[in-house]
Subunit: 444 residues, 2 copies
Amino acid sequence: MRRQLSLGAFLMATGHHVAAWRHPDVPADPMDFSSYRRAAQIAEAACFDALFVADSVAAPTDALASHSARSTYFEPLTLLSALSAVTEHIGLIATATTSYNEPYHVARKFASLDHLSGGRAGWNLVTSDAAAEAGNFGRQAHIPHAERYARAREFQQVVQGLWDSWADNAFVRDKASGLFHRPDGVRALNHAGEHFRVKGPLNVARSPQGRPVLVQAGSSQAGRELAAQTAEVVFTAQPSLVRAQAFYADLKDRLAAYGRHEDSLKIMPGVFVVVGHSQAEAEEKFQQFQERVDPRVGVGLLGRMLGNFDLSGYPLDGPLPELPPTEDGQRSRQQLLTELAGNEQLTLAQLGRRIAGGRGHYSLIGTATHIADELQAWFEGRGADGFNVLVPHLPLGLEDFAHQVVPELQRRGLFRRQYQGRTLRQHLGLQRPTNPFFTERGQP
Amino acid sequence: MRRQLSLGAFLMATGHHVAAWRHPDVPADPMDFSSYRRAAQIAEAACFDALFVADSVAAPTDALASHSARSTYFEPLTLLSALSAVTEHIGLIATATTSYNEPYHVARKFASLDHLSGGRAGWNLVTSDAAAEAGNFGRQAHIPHAERYARAREFQQVVQGLWDSWADNAFVRDKASGLFHRPDGVRALNHAGEHFRVKGPLNVARSPQGRPVLVQAGSSQAGRELAAQTAEVVFTAQPSLVRAQAFYADLKDRLAAYGRHEDSLKIMPGVFVVVGHSQAEAEEKFQQFQERVDPRVGVGLLGRMLGNFDLSGYPLDGPLPELPPTEDGQRSRQQLLTELAGNEQLTLAQLGRRIAGGRGHYSLIGTATHIADELQAWFEGRGADGFNVLVPHLPLGLEDFAHQVVPELQRRGLFRRQYQGRTLRQHLGLQRPTNPFFTERGQP
């Protein structure tokens, strides 16, 4: 079969466009579960590989937070657990930070979601990118970038070790003899490292996927290296096909050093999509959101995306001020936006408006044919193995993509017409990992 | 209307009887979501107030863990979030420890569940009761009892403060002006205490119930005092009506010191129930489980319930050995079981078998009439405001209770025939708490 692309539906309350909630067609409550259920069911009917949910463990506190719909939202694991009960096939990828969590809790919750969903869980491993998060966990200041990644690497090792606590066939459940699991089918982890001491074993059986799919989004050097070592899916923001190809080649090249095949890691750039039956209709649709952007709100979002800088003191019609390199985990995004502002000579207000929809992701505004052409070019040109799809408003923007772009991708033989497997790994074409601590017969 | 009793369905994988999984009618997989969904739907059809799920953050590692079905299970918040999507009315009470968690995470997840479920979340606040948990969170030894409670009290204060981060009417969502929430409708907590420093605000809007219902189960002096100060529901194990009455009176008497009315705290003893159409049928049903108890497994469970003692070295037909007072948070249970063994001159094996079903909770084995008589006597004799119902096997044991005992309680006018409200607070007859940080108009 021809190589197939993967699609993730990046869910975010009212939609990705910062002004989406002001549109008359958009339900303006980011804590309305029925909107998420609707979006999940639209994505599943279109055979998306997965839903994806971002996260932060702090509320934004900048001056214009009051003008954005992003201050409150569902906690991702509770949200995706609820969605697992009203879907059957689609993958469920939640973000959880390694900076302010305990690996035992994280291992456990994702393993639990994998069981609840019959093998559809994915963990988007991040390091915390907002200084505000530190204050909610007893810290005065944010953990520096290098230390965050060292902690993340060890965190991932512990989580993976806990996921492998049980042999797949440990549970014999012999009603006659009373033996529920083989005593040698379980092992303590006894991890003692620089950041964590974790005994184990996990109190969740090895999960349907062996391990939930490991997703990452860091694009810094440290982020790429951690991804090459451990990730199975990488989300990324790439401004052009050329840059996407460079990123793709760089990351795939790093795999060999860890003994990994290039198919064992899927690269899925984000793409912001507005679909119309004509180019004019798509642009008109986009304008309906753009014209609702309060410039101060756009600049507020910009400040957050650049690394939590307060830009409210700078003139809206002036240039992007020079900023120190952020320690806030958005360094790659900061570089990307600084370049964009310089290349196109954008004012602060223009740059804020520019990212109000796609938030720095590649934007496609046009007909299904045009969008499919671009996605195909990226996919066949080895800039992407698939895409994480951002739409301006939810759930309706996803319906536009599902009803117009997906059929076009299917006609071209690039995307499935029905699910072939049951698990997220199967959708993505990823192997189920064996458990290194036990033989195939489940012996230690 | 006549005072109504409350019913909780205490869900535990294959059921509460330690040998339940060996019964031919019982699905033996504790990680099968469909069993939980079935149980939840049975309980909801019978108008139970809530589902209740216990928790531990460690797998049991004693020698006979291999002969029990309790080594692996769903993480409660993911499980109840999934169940929230397939139920409409029933409350969802999850256990989470204050000993090895961060208050920001706990506040957030329960608030998220409260939103997902339209106001049905409850938090069973516990201190960790198993030394094994310490090792999964970087600690060499368990936190001593007194310190656990001091930490728990501060933890609860932080969580409650975070739940009150937002005024109920902060969210104006004015599409025309672009104002999403009033800037003065949110406040940082800025908590700085002995155990926690938490800035806030929470990134979840104030939840449908104002705050999720606060449940506790500690019966020690420290536990009772914390409950009197903060709890809205108390689960407890009481061996007789006389003892239940004493506990009930003691706890209700403590409320006045905190300016609380006695109706603001509901006391729900656990009751283990086996129902038959005749006394003989009920006993025969119970025997089908009892005869499947491996005495060593019964004694293993007993050791855990006494405070994680290894009793495997003692003769099965000898008496319960003298044990030092446990530091493991099961002190009240230890006293109760030591008394029981002494009063009835039970051997170790007999005591293990005795707790194999009800685990120290009051047991009722008989017809629906008999069981309803007992529940009514406890309820009207002020030994209970309701009951947390444990059944030997799930989901079928719950069906017996729902189809036989519930109609009898309804005929007597003691229990609702249909839900009157939408939220767990409404089911339980608890007030929705006002937010002390904001005026009724939502001003600070």
